[in-house]
Amino acid sequence: MSGESITVFKGDESRLSEKVSIAHRFSKEFHSKEVELVFKKSWLVVASALDLPHKGSYLVTDVPPLKASLLVVRGEDMHIRVFHNICRHRGDKLVHQGCGVKRSFTCGFHAWTFCNEGKLIGVTDRTQFSEIDKDKNGLLEVHSEVWENMVFVNFESTPSQSLREWLDVMHDQYAGFSDGRVKIADHRVILKTNWNLAVNAFCEGYHNLYIHKNTVPDYQGGSSNPNRHRAYIEVQRNFGRYSAHGNPNHKPTPAQGIFLNHSRPMFPAFTHFDMDKLPSGVNPSRFKQWAFDIVHMVPNFVFGPQANTHSMMWFWPIDHETTDIRVQRFAFASNKPSDLVAQAHSRVRGREVLREDLATLEANFQALRSGFMDSIFLSRQEMLIRNHYRAVDDMLSKE
């Protein structure tokens, strides 16, 4: 029994390979193609709308592979828009601070002003310019759409697919899953590794038996599933997702056990979830001892829905050998002090688990970039990684 898989597989497994050629992916030239054909042609998540609750809420973020700084802002009309963070006068960076709430943005260089819907509303010393059409010189807008509190952008001049087409069957399966939540953690680490290896490490559960001994020794699987096979794995054109099996005999640590008595169960405890309230995309197979899902959205974004919390993770290439990893965690908004104390426990355990994951990534890259081994093996439990390379290679082939 113990050698058998509990995994339910779903989706399009055509052209997925157990062996994937890897060594050629680490050159500067190859990465330039990834930027042009993958990152400039995909819908990319850049922010959480949960960070933009009010009229005028804004944040500045960047998209490292495109060297783009973005201003993400909720206008007076409550719509979220994404602009290049560039003043239309001489191209200074318009907003230098990370986030806040503003009706308008004034450039520090010569004080041109733009409203929070992007329109140019103020040109200083205007008589010294011959002609500036304010209507035509608002901030440069990037195509964006908000889906389940995730802000997506697309850098194509005209997106070849709508976000609905891009998300395909996922689009209607997550309604409201993140509603009522707030960000409880926001971490960033820059690693000397290739972005493909980084995102791959967060798309399989094969490693957790070996890598996460120090932080979450018994959170998944249990005696009926000693190899911790995924309960569910699905691969589709632009995404892959899996459900993890929570260990029903997980023993909370002393402090964790006390927090569990005061608040909702959160990572790494997976008990007493009311699945009826979850939208159909979360725990798609309605696995009874469900822990959490991992959803990889091609190319570089992963989100992890859980019943009472979720994470968002980005693996941005700065270049072919440097990756900017951002991890945000969310939980239900609460003004009950013990909820915050319990959420803090969960975010810290997640942070320490992340430190175990990160520890593999630089050595993995160093070993592979030597080029002496061309291919890697991917088991059926690593199907999302097979899917990643199929999706990326399909895009790269459309030169």
């Binding site: 960076k93 926001d186 971490h187 680490v189 820059i190 402090a255 975010r347 355990r349 320490e352 430190r355």
Partner: protein, 130 residues
Amino acid sequence: MQYQTVPLTDLTRSAQSKNLPDGFSDLKLFVNEWALSSEEERFIKLHSVDLHHLGIFYHAMINRIDQILDYLDQYKLEELPEDARTLFYLAMTFSETAHPIDLKWPDVDFTDAYPWQAFQFRTVSTEPNS
């Protein structure tokens, strides 16, 4: 990179009071060191002490945390009186530094972890008046 690193705070105000509510005065000796208002401060604190030093705080708190949470939950987060807010920060620091002892690590950190110094902390949105 142009990323802005902003101190991560759980509340807009940091611990103003050195006092604790009645019934918790035995924990007063920990206030200066451990009543910390952000995840980043708690993370740095954890990595600046040894396991023995951490253990003194942990063992004092593990016996009281149940009562502390019951006490704090009389109030809404944004209405915590100053002394209760200080107690809240003690509880938050306990929550975020309990794992080395809870998980029986031989030290405050463990081998094979990515260096803690590499972490950058950014804003969170749990400010009650945000």
